[in-house]
Every structure is written in C-alpha cells, then in structure tokens.
Symmetry: C2
Subunit: 123 residues, 2 copies
DNA sequence: CAACTGTATATATATGATATACACACTATA
DNA sequence: TATAGTGTGTATATCATATATATACAGTTG
C-alpha cells in the first residue's frame, strides 16, 4: 500500500484515501479477502487522525468494496473489480464533460480539444 | 444577464455566479465600462442573499475583471478578454488532466479517450 | 427626501479533521 | 487455563473553516 496524501489538494483527505484504495483494488494489487492496513497503522503512516482513516474505510464499506470486523481488521470484499471499473469510467466521462463545457466557453473546437488531450496524455 | 443557479450543484453559489459572469464577458455580451446588475437586483432575481452576490463581485474585482464603486454600482473592467480566455484554457486543461488520470486508473488508451471525447462532444 | 447603490456585523449550518477514551480479538506465557 | 499485552475498530466531544444568511449601516444621485 503506497498511499500519498496531498495537503495542497482541494479534495478531502478521506476521499484521497478511498480513491487510491479503489485504484489499488482495480489494478489487482489487492484481491478479495486480502487485509488492508489497519486504520491505526495507516493513520500513523500518513500522520493523520485515526478518525480520518476510519471515515475513509467507512465509505469503502458503505459502497461494498471492503468488509471490516471490529477487533480484527478490514478486508477486500469480493467481486467488485467490474463495479469499480464502471464507476471509474463514469468519473472519466464526468471530467471529459466538464472539459467540453469549459472548452465551449472559449470557443475551442473538437479538433483543438483532441489535440490538447493528445499532448497532455504523453506527459 | 441570464444567470442560472443550481442548488444541486456541488459548486458554491458565489462561484457559479463568477463563472457565468466571466463567460458572459468572454463572449462579448458585456464590454468594458458596461454596468453589471446591482448586487441587490441580482440577489432578488436569484432569490439569494445580497451578501452572496457581493462575495461573487468581490472575487471578480479582486481578480481585476470588474470595478465597483460604492453607491454607484459595478462595471466591467477593460482589457480582460484575453486574460479570461487564458484562464479558461487552463481550466479546460485541468479537466483534461483529471480525465487522463482517471482513465489511467482503468487502463483506457488514448484512442479510447479520444473516442469518448468525440461522442460526448456531439451531445 | 426618496430610491437607488454598495458595506459591515453578527450568526447559523455543514463539513473536514482532530484527541482521547472506550470496547473487542487474538496470542504469548506464567 | 488464565490473563496481561498488544493489536484491532468505535464513540464522544471539540475545533476550524467555508458557505450562506438577515439586518442594520453608509454613500450617490436626482
């Protein structure tokens, strides 16, 4: 688990954690049944409060991506890679839509947008 | 001035206002020296507090897009269309970068991203 | 003065993050 | 086998910040 917290990010810490854990599960680095780091361990490592890591895990559990047992720990739930991928596709679409709306404000054509996308993708 | 407030939006009201006013200036619907609606008028029209419209105008003034005179009103500053366009380009870039990061998480190729972009652009 | 303009103060609500004290589960060892 | 120790997650009370507000104040103009 190599989670990185950015304090300059506009996104809340707990959301940065859930996003990165979802990505790790999606990549197959963690499989169904695998243990996640304990909320205390993760909190110490990231130098944040236990309550913040707990909140991240709560959201992951609420959405069915992990299961957590008091006194034991938290574990990856089964059969969610497809769900995660679909969610990620929707998120990607959302960003593209925002880019398109923003592009329309300054009269960028589809071709110009495509060009920007290609350039940025290489970096 | 045809400003629309969405209560379901995650963006704060004052930001929705600044964004839309910037778009209006960029499109040339308002030119340097033109008067903006008074914060009171706009507040009544949008059924929100004067303080919220004031905050929006404060930000626009801080960034040099409008000038406001107590007792008189607020007016479009001069020579900002280029600045606004550059800002908008940066914002568009930001959204594209987010889309790319999100796409990488679920292993989408550049071609697949381009395809999504094209489809979404037509809608 | 009247009717318009923007301004300042004090306040309510929601969200993100925290410290600290609590309760449950395993396990080593007396 | 009992139990202390160290691991796990949980609950309460609290703080800081951001968004939005009502209401009272002050300047400008005809």
């Amino acid at each position: 688990m190599n989670i990185i917290i950015s304090n300059t990010s506009e996104k809340p810490i707990y959301e940065q954690i859930t996003t990165q854990i979802k990505a790790i599960i999606m990549k197959g680095e963690l499989n169904a049944g695998d243990a996640l780091p304990s909320i205390r361990f993760l909190a110490k490592e990231l130098r944040i409060s236990v309550i913040t890591t707990k909140r991240a895990y709560e959201e992951l559990e609420r959405d069915g991506f992990i299961e957590t047992v008091p006194g034991k720990g938290s574990f990856v739930a089964s059969g969610n890679q497809e769900l995660l991928r679909e969610e990620q596709l929707r998120i990607t679409e959302g960003h593209l839509i925002q880019a398109i709306e923003s592009a329309r404000s300054c009269s960028l054509s589809l071709a110009q947008l495509q060009e920007m996308l290609a350039v940025l993708y290489e970096e």
